[in-house]
Amino acid sequence: MAAPRAVLRLVPPKWNVGRRGFRDLSGVVTPERNLRKKRTLLQFLSDHFYEVEFLREYLLQRQIQKVHLDNRAYSHIESTYGPDIAGAYFVLKHGGAVINYHGLDSLLSLKELQSLSLQRCPHLDDWCLSRLYPLAGSLQELLLAGCPRISERGLACLHHLPNLRKLDISDLPAVEFPSLTQILVEEMLPNCEVIGTDWAQGLRQGPEEQPQDTAGPIPAE
């Protein structure tokens, strides 16, 4: 697969820096950028030749399938050694950050899980958060920092976890109002310590709002 991947690097670089997800091939562009202006060679060929368009779609599907393959449940290990070993095997085999909705199958049967760190997982989204309720009995610590696809809508399902004592929701790029979201999550989970964004980050200060320094030098004239 080395040669096709070299060809695909002609696609313009994406703004979600981090682990490359399958989104790279679908060309995520910001709406403001005019697509007509900077067309790369591959996009140009794709517009004019059915074969290139088909090839791009095929490679996109292959990348999606790879993520799904990495996340499949290891049922033979689970039946032989039990869910704990299966969960550990899943995390160690591909590096846990490939986890997506299906990969959570390996983790949800761990009934005594106390701490779960899902930091910087590119495929984790709101659907996955809604799946965490079977861990309600034991989960006390949940770390979600840096996941690009989690928004405040997924955070609303965390109220199924009443034993949660520590929750980290800092640096979630898809959350529009981080400070407001933190307040609402704190209200929703009264016994939990929520680590979110810095308070001052959400406040925008204009020059007129800054406190006038009366002791400073008064400009001449």
Binding site: D126, W127, C157
Partner: protein, 491 residues
Amino acid sequence: MLRRVLRPTLGRSLLIRGLSSRSGNSILDWDGNVSEIKKKIRSLIPGEPSNFLYDTKHLPPEHSDVVIVGGGVIGLSVAFWLKTLEKRRGAIRVLVVERDQTYSKASTGLSVGGIRQQFSLPQNVQLSLFAIDFLRNINEHLAVADAPPVDLQFNPSGYLLLASEEGAAVLESNVRMQSHVSLRQEGAKICLMSPAQLQKKFPWINVEGVALASYGMENEGWFDPWSLLQGLRRKVQSMGVFFCQGEVTRFVTSSSRMRTSVGEEVNLKRIHEVHVKMDNSLEYQPVKCAIVINAAGAWSGQVAELAGVGKGPPGTLQGTKLPVEPRKRFVYLWHCPQGPGLETPLITDTNGVYFRREGLGKNYVGGRSPTEEEEPDPANLEVDHDFFQNKVWPHLAQRVPAFESLKVRSAWAGYYDYNTFDQNGVVGPHPLVVNMYFATGFSGHGLQHAVGVGRAVAEILLNGHFQTIDLTPFLFSRFYLEEKVLEQNII
């Protein structure tokens, strides 16, 4: 001799015309003529749109294999699955005819956007499970090269259905059925809660009058129907489906008399042409087609009448009309600063009042289905604010005491494509008009079932039978056989 008399006069008038062409206006005219001639010559080159006599860009094509009447979420879903399941790439030519490209009255855009598995019919539960699976992987299904991903803004907060003493037994049996229905070995994840558990989980609810509650733990919630519609439209356009703005005014049909195995005579009809009329003009285009799909939503009854469905003595199969009519429903948006927080699910009360959270600013969206006597007039989409004051607010305030002080910010109205027979969808071909397929009549849950219904219609069209989900109880023939397939959980 006459010719000699005429020629000088002709020559003089030409000279006069030649003199006048030196003035400013006529020079522009000449350039205009030249560009017109150039355009006509260009239209003769193969590959260019043929506008030789007059411009036909706005008209639909003259032939199309499948014509889908109605470009809402159900029509686009049928187009999508037809193009996905066709045996060879580009085998089927599909045309989607939509009367209003702004979708100002379409039920899709005006919908509250909920999706739930808590239905009383196994087929409805299966349709919802299929739809939620599709929506979860929507960017794999609807990926278009170089386009931004579809963001559905799905809120997985679940549905909470409250039942009083009379409804508690029914609710419990429904939940048991929902957990056992499977589509790829996955049932619906609903948990039953007693009033005490409910009070502990949601302290802001007043549990008086509630005997049992069912709460969807996952795969339930609400999303943005507009982004689903735009995502489907974009994908379907990239797959080569033709779109046309126009109204279907006539079907040209032919009938043949056939004899059944019993010896009875039936008149089988076949639609050959669909006349699509343009907006604000008498211009229409006859489109020759093989199959017509009626996905016109609230106006499906009128489209069916055009094809002759229901024209016959009452009580016979020819005389059975399509019982789908538009019903107006109001949705209100209000603000309540002391209201319930982020964890609010979509709550449906025992008397039909429902509401859900909207955004992060303590805004809520909700309404109520009126009873048969209170049905508003569906002629327009005007909102009745007294309905909220008298019929919705008292119940809201009784169930959630914080809602005693709220302020209505805005309201809108939309149509349900209401099936007056049994409030469930009509899917599949008509027994007498052999090439007309229905995909309508979902009475308020069309959006959540659109994806599954689209697949079912595509399967029955291409394979002749249902494969993924068996929707045989939803066929048209049940109206004639008087077999009601009732859904108890209608919101």
